[in-house]
Amino acid sequence: MIPELGHVALIIAFMLAVGLALLPLWGSFSRDTAKMNLAPSLAIGVMLFVTIAFSMLATSFLNDDFTVAVVAANSNSLLPPIFKFSALWGNHEGSLLLWVLILSGWMTAVAFFSRGLPLIMVARVLSVMGMIAVGFLAFSLLTSNPFERLLPNTPMDGNDLNPLLQDPGLIIHPPLLYMGYVGLSVPFAFAIAALLGGRLDASWARWSRPWTNVAWGFLSLGIMLGSWWAYYELGWGGWWFWDPVENASFMPWLMGTALVHSLAVTEKRGVFRSWTVLLAIFAFSLSLLGTFLVRSGVLTSVHAFASDPERGLFILIFLALVVGGSLLLYAMRAPVVASRVTYGPVSRESLLMVNNLVFTVATTVVLLGTLFPLVMDAFSLGKYSVGPPYFNAVFVPLMALVTPFMMVGPLSRWRDDSVRRWVNELLIPALGVAVIAVAAALMSSDRFNIWIALSVLLAGWVTLGVLRDLIRRLLSGGQGKLRWRALSPSFLGMSLAHLGFAAVMLGAVVVTQQNQERDLRMAVGDVEELGGYRFELKRLGQLAGPNYIADQAVFEVSRAGELLTVLVPEKRRYLASGQIMTEAAIDASLWRDLYVALGEPIGKDAWAVRLQYKPMVRFLWLGALLIGLGALVTVFDRRYRAQSRVKATIESGALSVAS
């Protein structure tokens, strides 16, 4: 009964979404206020019924209802309850339902927080999001119904959740990532609504900007969690593989980075408007492309659930409709909204344009590398794979290129600035950073490492830009008093994100350059030295978990004769599926991680063991965390809260373009 209720709720949600996609939009053209006013209630209605469907499926998972196909395929009665719940999105059908749930959540948020916006704008934005919801609900109902029953051949027990996914990281990684992915539909909807109305002004950018920042922040956090999860759960200590599925989430992030910066220019100066719209369209299209890549089974990856081609085709058509439709609209409408404001070649606008170009190019090269094998395969030109060396060779130089501009960015002035002013403000400290970089590279290892020197230099420059801006703002009041009020949330957010970027860059280079790794055979009593640490295999043991049995190895780690910690890596065998899983043991700290993982048993009382010493690997995730938090902080800026107060002026049409 419960799954049927869920199914009915999903169908009702679909019908409400159809209403949302059509009625308010129609009303916006026929100036029918009653129809436009339906938008918020319809959006909330979709959200309510999708939530009901989601809770019904969650109930089926928690009650071990193995008559439901997805529950039988992805859960098991021995599974701990929290994993029964997260198993809901550990499969194709359920993760799609989560996608729709989050989309409806974003719609509700727009309905709720946009009461200060003109009605016509709200109606159009929600209608566009309604169209996306129609697409995904139809996808769910037609090709991937999560409520399908297995009758009368009901299994006694479920197949169990893939052990790789039985992990706290998986409980939060997909929801956060989807918050970002789906959240990009909001700036997309704002862009389409603006194109429909032919009105792309500074206030449009101001409405769109906080949503973009939040979505992009969540996307950053989601990607960070995915990387962290892969690091400790896949058992080989890598943190980024340039796997197509990672790229699928990374491309919208790169495009989103360009969009976040471009929106700043559009809001403050009213330029780059058509470009910003295009970026918003691309960013969301890349989210959809990511969904296609991940869900259609064209890729070899952890994320590729066994799937059928019909689903891939559905998303591909949907993708073509969204991209084609929005680009057509753009082609028809964009010239109407071109801008006439000018700026000098040395100005903040130009610097932000560099950001936009670099990140667009970076997205393109990642896209090329990701799609190249698929395209070659589709035309039967051979089966290729493009590996990390390609991505590193094209991506790393681009990121290095953008960092010197990041140093100057926060200090630069809009409209017209001078190179001499930048030199005056930054030259001496920038040279100081260079000296520190050389010293750090000399001290960190026996011989001079140019890559470490470069990464310290560039990360130092980015930090310098942030600090210089901070000092300037604090002293801006004069009279020797610090002006704390000058530190607005947008400033703090930007500074956090830039510092985070510096930390990620530094961590990535240091851990790549100075990582030490050894695969070897170790028997009880064997000792191995790595990175100045002494690893001793003390004993082997066994352990029974709730739904697995494990072999354990106990390692004592010491340094200079002093016992530091005991690491206990495991090799688990999950009972329901018989699947084997490596559970690495990690001693984490800010400056270095020690990582021990078991391979397979070799001969008697001995194991293949992987020992790793990973300096500064935590900087990667801390940096990404700062980027994500920084983006979220910006929303608290006063000028976004002031929206409801300017409402009256906007509605009376008295507001001219604010710059």
Partner: protein, 150 residues
């Protein structure tokens, strides 16, 4: 020059510079870093190059895994049920690596036609088969497949 035109000139120059740099990088990076995929029959027929890295995919032959007792070296045979190729690998194998399961090995061929693998990839979950391996096995007679579990 008129400021708007100057602005456009700067923009065009930047775009041209950046995109040519990017194209150069892409071309340079693609030259060495793409690997072709070969099923065992193609390798045995001598169609695979010996001087560069390739990807070999198929099923691990039952009973073919030989592990050294003293170090991490492992050899095994990969088959598409028409031909088999020996693979040598030193290191830790993925958890789902097993006899009779799908595998993709990346490495270079030596004179004896043995693949010295630098990386071995196995499936990530029970019911999932890497698409390349599935295609390599297509049309080849194999042992009866287990029916997919629901």
């Amino acid at each position: 020059m008129h400021p708007a035109r100057k602005q456009r000139l700067v923009l065009v120059c930047l775009v041209v510079l950046l995109s040519s740099a990017a194209i150069g990088l892409v071309a340079f990076a693609l030259r060495d870093n793409i690997n072709l995929f070969y099923p065992p029959s193609d390798v045995v027929a001598g169609k695979a190059p010996a001087d560069r890295s390739i990807r070999l995919g198929g099923m691990v032959v039952e009973g073919s895994i030989e592990r050294s007792d003293t170090d991490l070296e492992t050899t095994f045979w990969v088959t598409d049920y028409a031909a088999s190729v020996a693979v040598r690998y030193s290191g830790i194998l993925p958890d789902l690596f097993a006899e009779g399961e799908g595998v993709v090995a990346e490495g270079t061929l030596d004179e004896q036609g043995v693949l010295n693998a630098t990386q071995v990839l196995a499936k990530h979950d029970e019911n999932y088969m890497p698409p390349e391996v599935a295609a390599a096995l297509e049309g080849k007679a194999g042992p009866p497949r287990r029916p997919e579990s629901p």
